[in-house]
Symmetry: C2
């Protein structure tokens, strides 16, 4: 360790105190590997500041000593965005001690909280005030608000409520020079120049450290019903989605799809689970209709009418409506278990892709057989958020391969091919999981050069020394022209 | 004219042809003054490219010759943002020839159009497809989509549908180096880095030229009712707003307020107009409830119940519900005539301000008498979008002053005082009209230095030579630190 590094660590320790800075391997190591176990890095130390002021102080120290910073929330990201590289030069900056949630403003339907608040705790705070924070996802027990903002998270309620960007009303962020950009004031309208807070949403910590946010809440749900529908094809699912969008009004809360093979894997994987429908269907849709106090009285009636009309119009082969909240939960459990069930089956390459909503059925119907033909023995499955034009397109390895070898070899070729197909369909290679380190080179390969140049220009302007989460989203030291 | 300027003009003429470039004073002069007549500038020529390629070609020419560019849409902006300075060095770039509207995608509820499309033509195109573009404002007959995006326009439907930013799904823009950033592909979810299109929304042409956009449409309205409500105070209006937000669900389309003095000015100004209510009330609210096909059947019944409950709870002194579409229009005409009626009365300083929604009643109730006390003979009136926390706070001159002298002298002092009060209330000196040249110095005086520095850093990164709408939003050649 150089003398300068020692000086830096001593100054950081003095600033943050013993709870705020540690080099104890037992405490640091668990956070150096991403939760999917794909990436492992090293760090100079783990910093856990307790306030925005401490974050700002640390960032200033890092700027002065040229120490890179890797911010981390719940360490539940999907693309390795919160894992440092192997150099050990960076400090790992955890926001997990910043967990304050301000009073819920029920009139304005908003709340301000610190970046380290865990999603399910925000859910609870909103519920306690008779409201709801309408974004949720599998990692809600660990994902933090700062991480959700930095990755512009999606989830299963995007169809009605939008992605994280649509729910963020204000942001506080520490900039690369240690100054604090504070825009937590909840103004509904503010046209003093372009909207700076947008820069930090989805930037994966490359432009600064999100330390707090004001987020939008919506009325609590009074009731919901979940339909499970059997369908002959993904195109039928698309037709059913349009039917729901046209006729369910603002009751439509979610529309998820999976092919029969995914459902079978889930039924094998989940003890005591059962197929909601009697027969076999090529595709399945889970449709959630949800009502607040205003519309709850007629919810079930409207859901029944919606499905009845879908049958009349030949849009569904079979369907069942949840008869209780327990059954609604059971249907969602089937959907939420697709990923773990698949992992239990063996290695797979996962792709979080989007194409224009209208093009998704065609994409899945053609890309899956194309991949299976090109890579014999693989199985290609698309499932997820059809209503958002966002499918998780997973390609399962041929039987008997060794995971790591396959992933590095054929797996990479498969991903490149999937990304080529997505790009040809004017889609995105990252719909909701971000770029991180996992897709950085693919973004560089396939991204629009004009857009990449803009990303680099802004990055260089705000972080000229490249200390904020280096190597994520963009390669380090990319040329700016 | 220098030889280089002559070369530039010759090259531009060759690029754009006779319809695309003119120096004819009869054709250029009308566009050198903003529609409110506050600012007049000069320009080298008026360029009217017919395509994105022509815009890109012109921007490249300007970059090569160092010619500043002032983009202009309908020239209906409120802050002088589309008027060149007096130097005559800049070229005025009109987008008005780019008026193509693509086919409406009724399934996805979106449409792509060029920047020069006039708002009411977009309204018509959406209506023809059974949909609606839910942003409107007084200047809809001249305001263009590019201008509305560049100023992040608001209007009277923001309460339900949001500002322009919420309606823009994709953008095409020509960057300062002449490259074309094209993100018109309507992906609902795309996390390839921070969202670059946000940079061009509300940037007032300082980062590039918006040449096209994909915008969101909503279901057509099947019916609406408009209530006119008499109220004892602005605080009562706030209580009524909360009542409506809690009980009208997603029917609430607009909530506008005005004091008695504004209504009286309108009644004096508009021939054949009449007070909707019999008695006098300190404040008036216009409430629009609107339904699509789904909810239309019960609309009037729900509106009546909403008002009945408001009376029961003592939230209103008197109220009337529009009995016909003609009456609904007549109520809106009263609201829309506040500005012209006020102009007819004499000079005034206009302030387009926002504060947190919950603080607006207090702000109006204290700021108006404070200004009138400090500047004897003036009359301070707040009216407009209470539901958005956005009030147009106008201060009428004392009787008998000469407009221009008063505006430059006491008027400036009044504006500074209003902006001080807004800043103290954590508000914005530009809620929806933008900064342009009118509020540039006030933004520099009162803006958060960290935010201003960020604006400058991004501006310098994207437009290092300062050729894009120079002197708007930020002063030319501002230091970056």
């Amino acid at each position: 360790m150089t003398a300068e590094t020692e000086t830096f660590l001593a100054e950081a320790a003095a600033l943050l105190g013993p709870r705020g800075l540690t080099r104890d391997a037992d405490l640091v190591t668990p956070w150096l590997t991403d939760w999917r176990g794909r990436y492992t890095g090293a760090a100079l130390a783990l910093a856990s500041p307790a306030s925005t002021e401490e974050v700002a102080g640390l960032v200033k120290l890092c700027a002065r000593h040229g120490v890179p910073i890797v911010p981390q929330g719940g360490n539940s990201g999907m693309s390795g965005g919160a894992t440092p590289d192997a150099s050990g030069r960076a400090i790992l900056l955890s926001l997990r001690r910043m967990t304050a949630i301000g009073p819920v403003d029920a009139d304005a339907r908003q709340v301000t909280c610190e970046a380290g608040v865990v999603l399910q705790n925000l859910h609870a705070a909103a519920e306690a005030a008779g409201l709801r924070f309408p974004l949720t996802l599998g990692g809600k027990g660990s994902a933090t608000i700062g991480g959700l903002i930095s990755t512009n998270a999606g989830g299963t309620q995007v169809l009605r409520h939008g992605v994280m960007r649509a729910l963020v009303l204000g942001i506080e962020a520490v900039l690369p020079d240690g100054s604090v950009y504070s825009a937590l004031t909840p103004l509904k309208k503010d046209n003093r120049g372009f909207d700076l807070k947008q820069l930090f949403i989805g930037a994966e910590g490359t432009l600064g450290i999100v330390t707090g946010a004001t987020v939008k809440l919506v009325p609590a749900l009074a009731d919901r019903v979940v339909a499970w529908v059997g369908l002959p094809s993904i195109h039928a699912a698309r037709a059913l989605l349009l039917h729901c969008e046209a006729n369910a009004g603002n009751l439509l809360e979610g529309f998820e799809v999976m092919p029969q093979a995914c459902l079978e894997a889930v039924l094998d994987y989940l003890p005591d689970s059962r197929n909601p429908l009697a027969g076999q269907h090529a595709w399945h849709a889970l449709i959630e209709l949800a009502a607040n106090a205003d519309t709850a009285a007629s919810l079930r009636e409207r859901a029944e009418a919606l499905l009845a009309e879908a049958f009349e119009r030949g849009l569904a082969e079979d369907a069942v409506l949840s008869a209780s909240e327990a059954q609604a939960e059971a249907f969602w459990m089937l959907r939420d278990s697709v990923s773990p069930a698949e992992r239990a089956k063996g290695p797979a390459m996962q792709h979080d892709i989007s194409v224009p909503v209208a093009a998704m059925a065609d994409f899945v119907a053609t890309a899956a057989p194309a991949i299976e033909a090109e890579f014999p023995g693989t199985q290609a499955l698309g499932f997820g958020h059809l209503g958002d034009g966002n499918i998780h397109f997973h390609v399962l390895a041929p039987k008997g391969v060794v995971h790591s070898e396959w992933a590095e070899g054929q797996g990479k070729a498969i991903s490149a091919r999937v990304h080529d197909l997505v790009t040809a369909a004017q889609g995105s290679i990252s719909a909701e999981h971000g770029i991180g380190q996992m897709k950085r080179d693919e973004l560089a390969r396939l991204g629009d050069p004009v857009a990449l140049n803009l990303l680099r220009q802004v990055k260089k302007a705000l972080d000229p020394n490249g200390l904020m989460n280096p190597g994520k989203l963009l390669a380090q030291g990319s040329p700016t022209a």
